[in-house]
Symmetry: C2
Subunit: 207 residues, 2 copies
């Protein structure tokens, strides 16, 4: 690597880290180019030599947040499987564990969570391929238990169902954490999510 290229990579990493700190502490709407430049000690214009815009910087932080969420969900799925029982019991338990793992992520990392789901790319821009792939990986956690509960589903239908189950869990996490419908302390919210997700699991199994 040339020295100039190494400096560019270093600036890129510093910017991602500074943006990550801001998003974790104050959310992605608080991200301002001038403050970032000050924090990493570069000229305002230098940001745009490594990122086309702030949106690209938010996406770079989101890639890290997806990786964290993936680690958390992998841990939940492994713990659910380790608790034993038949494949269907494990699948049901895994669905509940994943939904509550997602609740934990949203509750403990609300800035990251908001940036993943509230942030909209500027008009006309598409999500990068890597982002799409990370989203696929996220749904894959759900596809495993879904394929056990509904073994006859074709791959495309299984993918759709996994996304729909995710969306249902997302709704409960979103309205639950916002306290919009009812003010529930986290442990009760967790119970409600378990109640609804386990009903979904049993219902799918009974098909």
């Amino acid at each position: 690597m040339t020295k100039a290229k190494a400096r560019r990579e270093e600036l890129k990493d510093s910017l991602i880290e500074a943006a990550e700190r801001t998003i974790v502490a104050h959310g992605h709407t608080a991200l301002k180019a001038r403050a970032l430049a000050e924090e990493v000690g570069c000229a305002l214009g230098a940001i745009y030599t490594v990122f086309p815009d702030l949106a690209a910087l938010i996406l770079a932080v989101n890639a890290r947040s997806f990786a964290l969420l993936d680690t958390m969900l992998t841990r939940e799925a492994e713990a659910a499987a380790a608790a034993g029982g038949g494949p269907r019991a494990i699948a049901n338990r895994t669905l509940i564990a994943l939904a509550n793992g997602y609740l934990d992520f949203a509750a403990d990392h609300s800035g990251r969570w908001r940036a993943l789901f509230d942030f909209r790319l500027p008009e006309g821009q598409d999500l990068p391929q890597t982002h799409q792939r990370q989203l696929e990986d996220l749904f894959r956690h759900l596809e495993t238990p879904v394929s056990i509960l509904q073994p006859s589903l074709a791959a495309a239908e299984r993918g759709l169902l996994a996304r729909s189950l995710f969306a249902a869990a997302h709704g409960m996490v979103l309205l639950g954490l916002e306290g919009k419908l009812v003010q529930l302390p986290l442990p009760y919210l967790r119970e409600q999510i378990a109640l609804v997700v386990s009903a979904m699991g049993r219902g799918l199994e009974g098909d």
Copy 2:
């Protein structure tokens, strides 16, 4: 009513109607006091003689939107009941019909829907009692089938479960209409919602 009071009421209604048109066409974020005053032909300051702020005006439009949603859901529930079958079959069908009625409301009245669920009151303000009551009425549609599927639930638990089911449906409608997870034409989204909600219904019934 004095003449002055009648004029006040008239101005209030005109403002609500103008705000409603804006929210329906462009969403609540497009609401601007100056444009409203121009539309109803009053002085800018006159708005604040009948509403303390624009938030109160948005809440007045939201009350109308709740009434419309309530009418749509009542119709769905009645149609589901009219199709016959035992109480549990009706309850399951009603849950699906309500979720898809909510999808229709969100798809056909997206400005109203956004104002109901995205609008946040200024810091420190609480939702008015009438708004809370309309929200209760909304959940009551769900409590009826829930009480048939889970007759042993106490009233408070039934209320929580109804809210959680609503939140799950809201998540599917939200992510489905945003096309964030997967681009699904409306009829397919409707099928997915039916699939997940009917699984929830069967699972609850099997408890």
